[in-house]
């Protein structure tokens, strides 16, 4: 499926899709959206790329190893943020009151943005990996 129109339009669109996805992830705690929605949007840009080119090209942009790392890191960040609570002497996954910050700014709400980013990473890599692997199965 090597269509020039498709590839050019995809190339034009992908940066904007990714930027929008990042915006949704990083503003998860102050506006609609969050890690799940944002991660899925970023993932959709990679899926668009793979659809316009092919899976092999997609795997070049989003290598399996990177996916594996993002996948595990997303979960590990979540656990580590939770363990910070235990280290501070309160309960697992407790928010950090000193980091609540100015309401409405990006650096506020304690652990929420951190967890949002972790989830965004995880959702993005999961969806891309699932899609690429199933698509690869289909190809040969």
């Amino acid at each position: 499926m090597q269509d020039m129109v498709l590839q050019t339009v995809a190339k034009l669109l992908i940066p904007f899709i990714q930027l929008y996805g990042m915006y949704v992830i990083f503003h998860g705690h102050i506006s609609p959206g969050g890690g799940f929605a944002g991660g899925a949007i970023v993932a959709s840009s990679y899926i668009l790329y793979a659809l316009a080119h092919d899976v092999g090209a997609g795997f070049k942009q989003f290598p399996r190893l990177v996916a594996k790392w993002l996948e595990s890191l997303g979960g590990l960040i979540f656990l580590l943020v939770g363990l910070v609570g235990i280290i501070r002497g309160v309960q697992f996954l407790t928010n950090i009151p000193e980091w609540l910050g100015q309401v409405g700014s990006i650096f506020s709400a304690g652990i929420i943005p951190l967890l949002t980013v972790a989830i965004g990473m995880k959702v993005c890599s999961t969806i891309v990996t699932l899609f690429y692997n199933l698509m690869e199965e289909d190809h040969d």
Binding site: G28, H29, I30, S31, P32, G33, G34, E71, S72, G74, G75, F78, L79, G82, F92, L93, N95, L100, G101, V103, G104, S108, A109, G110, I111, I112, L115, T116, A118, I119, K122, V123, T126, T129, L130, N133, L134, E137, D140
Partner: protein, 95 residues
């Protein structure tokens, strides 16, 4: 035969559920579900978590443990898919 049986069973289940819907709290009203918990979530989100998006505040602060499980479901999904793809290799159909 099996399809007919399933349909009959489902119609029965549907009737029970229909009666239940008729007796349920009305849609759009502040029913019993909108109790002090929901009020607490909407009123104390900014004070307790600092987030203005109440949904984010719920899933990542009040109920973060559920979201850890949710992230794990994603991980489990990918581990399961990659495991079967690895386990069953690239064999041709038939064997």
């Amino acid at each position: 035969m099996r399809a007919a049986l399933t349909t009959v069973v489902l119609v029965l289940i549907g009737l029970i559920l229909l009666f239940m819907v008729a007796e349920m709290p009305t849609f759009g009203e502040m029913g019993p579900a909108y109790n002090e918990v929901a009020h607490h979530y909407t009123q104390c989100a900014v004070d307790e978590t600092g987030a203005t998006n109440v949904i984010s505040a719920i899933i990542l602060d009040w109920r973060a443990y559920d979201t850890l499980g949710e992230a794990t479901v994603l991980f489990a999904g990918i581990a399961a898919v990659l495991a079967i793809l690895a386990a069953h290799g690239q064999r041709k159909k038939g064997r």
